[in-house]
Symmetry: D2
Subunit: 367 residues, 4 copies
């Protein structure tokens, strides 16, 4: 497995730099027979797009997906699906000044140490621009999961800075620019973000994702556990510093008698586990939560170093998000969907004939 | 990559069930020339061992490691190193009663759903007994990391239930049965655990791990990030529900101006990032934190289901830990060491000649 | 994928040196529900065993397989199956004399160059002893293939030195010590081998393998082609120098009009392709052929070098086969079976639902 | 590893159909610091190009490579290198007639059986058009191998039909359209090919490849052997039916006393092994040989089946090569180069420090 590839049976390989000619991906292992059209990618790319509102980076990319292969007469053929997006709104001049500086909190210094060379334009490969292709690949996974298994993957913002939702209404999430589950707080968030932008600072965020209708049995022990692969997938997103499954760090102070989810003839009585036991899905909703750090690209100047080891003042004048977590919601969804589809195929490979030999217990304990 | 294997260039494959004849592992990709003897495994296996104190499971396993291959005249040869531990203290009768029951909070139900069959003795493959081999493999990684790079990996318990350390003294960690960094609290912890055991209940815990002297440049973007692979490695340990790097979920409420670690000619001024930027090590101490759920094997009875879908009362009478997080400390260390050694080899493969072509900046900003 | 592992979804990892304490393997990814007992391995291990007749090496190994994991109450559970064979007939003293010599035609020099160290006892890891575990793993694959798909894998010797079979009778193959398809030549072969052994020399051989009842559709383009993976599997066997599929090198002088296998309503009219087109099985018998070099371990002395670069006379006094190709027949079968089972699982993963959506053409063109 | 990817540390993923909008590849794992420009690809793509002479297919593709990523200011950065070639000379109408027919000897039937759907335009994904990207990726590998290790990879045609070279002059190979090592036979070959084309038939061929200056020690036992990976790489090329290393199938009739290559203080006295022992390079020239079948796309009509199982006459009117082996020479070179570079990186990963600890024997036995 190369390090720019993700997934074992549904393998996504991404390429491209923030300000290079294009970004793209190859989705390999997708089953044949799925209807895919360029316009299918629009909705989620729009949700992730920078420039969507004044609260995110003002870079404007059309993000038009070209399908280069793997689809014939609108349907997948089982061969690798290559997707390409041309970069159109590059402003490499914005970055000329910092080409030999190490921006604090960015990958500038580590890429330099690792490779001895780096593309400084907009962070090059380490830019969150790469996540565009995760979202595009995720569209295919979401479609397959929904069509074949009725699985739905939905994320929302569950915290910005100190602010948490007062209530929870899933239908609200897609109706405000913050993926926020309580519309009553939208004005508060707008004021908060405006003040933040004015101050030149940024703030962290938390994203929650739930997948429903996941059948029991997906996930491979021991080193291919569903939760292990979710953790890898989500932690690999830019700016992520923490991942939780189910009750997450809340379990540290829990008693076993409170944590263990009781099984009843009507289904599970609770879901502290977050839909995974022993690395395998239980059939309950799969719940995970992700911590995004505040971006380090600030208008507030700071002393740093340059490639010669000299002190250099760094100020970000490019276009950046004061809260990168906001538009990370569809990225998290995409990664969850890609992990689930990959595991679904792996399950089919190893246990495809289990259903024929062994009766399962009556009823899906998904409650 | 099979699902019982871990690591790309240093690949560990484990096998074995809790109450089968033996557990073992194959460590493939280890460089030649490392001195390894059976007694090297004793210290860490002892640290992990059940039955070490009255606060952990009373299962007594000698855990004698036999080296079956890969070592000639005491030195690794570059061929796969197979390690074997015979299971000696199996009490399969303890489990006969629950063979057709689904213990809540365990993998019984999910293994049954996935495979249509399962080894019920002590949880079979899903038992934490498997982690013995992770610790054994980790010994090799720790040795190589220390010999070649001076890297030290050290973990400790940073929370049990609601109890957190009052002070922090690294030298205390190995001098008490709780891997606790403040000796003054040991009596408090003993009383707490005794009460817990008496009540038949269990509790969660948090383990912290730090690796020092990690050189800058280890870790592979984008899907082989050092933090992504640490997350996968740690989340794959039994009972883990959350993983953090650096400030972890603390970043959600942070401002960017506070989070970004300043670079100075004397080194980094802080380490909120936890030693990783863009998925690549910075040279600073690598910091991570792991949440362990309370074990669901309780003496407190609970209604559950059996394989026929009928209600069945489950009581655990076997030997179990009231806090599985305690002896998870060396397991977490082992996984961190295995990830680091794998990444070190991967870095050498791709960038082995960087040093020859490109001068790095003066000084290692590891401070 | 580590280099001592083979297969993507059915992954076999082998370990062990010729004269170490044991050899073994881990078979990961095997579906649950297959009946496996230690005695199942006996037949094929016996077929491969050295010491079977006076025409092969006189090393006598009991080759008793111990199943360490993955099987519960006689049935596979879906967890990794570890198999162990203790080495009992080691005579390491035989090799003391050549510990610092490079035997010509052996891996002594290359292992030394690669690793800077090697286990000289019987060739260590490079010994054909390793293939014992391939045969053992192959038993599981053969069983699954036969049970689920009716696939049969059968090999035979098709050439020793200049001698080729006069006739072909598949039922003869298992009734003589040469896996020879014409019993009338057995005496000729015995005399030939006796003379060869007396002369202290050795000779090459060719093994053919056919798999019948392979369904159409197995094999993954482009870099996971069925023929590509067969080539890798067979070329990885000790002493193999050539691999052919179907007509093999015979195609070089063929015309296209003669080579292309016509499709008729009654099935294919010929099988020059050997059952594979575009890397995917056609449903016809899968045919391959393998060239084994003559062993270089001869009683005839030869000047070579030692590890100090000095000239040293090498004479093999240990136990060796005058024709290693003879007992390679079951090894080739095992590798073909492992490749087929792996591809079967991969096909099920990606195309498991093809049957439901798209009608296939009537009849299997397997003729 | 996905099935459209090749290589463990230098991983090449190709995509694209013969008559889709574009073909391309992603080369992941390439070390930083290598100078790469679009014009570097021209020479080898030209050598592979169809339409080069009247003896190959008359499809005319400009095959202009666009570098989409991984190169900054003309130098590789260590991030994935994406290469794109637009298809410009598609004539899909040529294929409309055979869209529901199975051409004998082609992958039409097997793709249909596997996927239940296929792109019939020019063979879609199964077309040799895909090998264009192998050649492009191979250019990068050839460059790195030459720059860092002085390795040269050179192929030639060693047989067309019954015709073999009378003499051998390496410098002749690039000076005739047949990659033929004896210029005196060029007229004979031209007449032979003209007659063949006129007859509407095709013929097979054999390609030899040699790599010189390969250092000893490259290649990973047991399942990552250098010869095993070469076999997989070469057998994965369209139309290949056989692969040989060193003396290949010639070893079947050899005696061990003749085959084993003697080691002397002046180097190896012969090279029957083809530069590989135990799966690891010896330092001698690496020799391999590949059999290409005659293409099945003939102007000679033949009865076949259509997707409804009915008999249908197939005649190829599109543009095809009467001998696909001719322009396969640079493809074989590319695959050998990719395998070697991958193994070089793997060797560096595991044994990078061998040189520091263990002295090798004096002199490189590469003679």
């Amino acid at each position: 497995m190369s390090s720019n590839s993700f997934g074992k049976l549904l393998t996504v390989t991404t390429f491209g730099e923030s300000h290079g000619p294009a970004i793209g991906c190859v989705v390999d292992g997708c089953p044949p027979g799925i209807a895919i059209a360029p316009e299918d990618f629009r909705h989620d790319l729009e949700r992730r797009a920078t420039g969507r509102t004044r609260h995110t980076s003002q870079r404007h990319e059309a993000d038009e997906v070209e399908i280069l292969s793997g689809v014939y007469e609108g349907v997948t053929t089982g061969t690798p699906i290559a997707l390409l997006i041309r970069n159109t709104d590059q402003r490499s001049k914005d970055y000329a000044k910092i080409a030999d500086q190490f921006r604090p909190g960015h990958a500038d210094y580590t890429y330099w140490q690792k490779y001895g060379i780096r593309d400084p334009r907009g962070g090059g490969r380490s830019s969150a621009r790469e996540t565009t292709m995760r979202v595009a690949a995720g569209v295919i996974a979401k479609k397959w999961l929904a069509d074949r298994h009725g699985v739905q993957v939905q994320g929302w913002l569950s915290q910005i800075g100190e602010i948490v939702p007062h209530g929870f209404d899933l239908s609200a999430v897609e109706n405000n620019p913050f993926f926020w589950p309580d519309t009553r707080q939208v004005t508060e968030l707008e004021l908060y973000m405006d003040a933040l932008r004015k101050s030149g600072d940024s703030v962290g965020a938390r994203v929650d994702v739930v997948a429903t209708n996941v059948p029991p049995g997906w996930g491979e022990p021991i080193y291919g556990k569903l939760d292990g692969e979710l953790a890898a997938a989500l932690m690999s997103i830019n700016a992520v510093k923490g991942v939780e499954i189910g009750d997450g760090f809340g379990v540290v102070a829990q008693k076993g008698s409170a944590h263990r989810d009781q099984m009843t003839p009507q289904g599970f009585a609770s879901n502290h586990a977050g839909g995974i036991l022993g690395g395998i899905s239980t059939g309950q909703p799969l719940r995970c939560s992700v911590a995004f750090k505040p971006t380090s690209s600030l208008r507030l100047p700071i002393d740093s170093l340059d490639t010669h080891g000299n002190v250099a003042e760094v100020v970000t004048t490019g276009r950046h998000d004061p809260c990168v977590g906001i538009r990370a919601t569809p990225i998290c969804e995409a990664m969850v969907a890609l992990v689930l589809m990959d595991q679904a195929l792996r399950h089919r490979a190893q246990c495809g004939d289990v259903g024929e030999v062994t009766p399962r217990i009556p009823g899906n304990l998904g409650g």
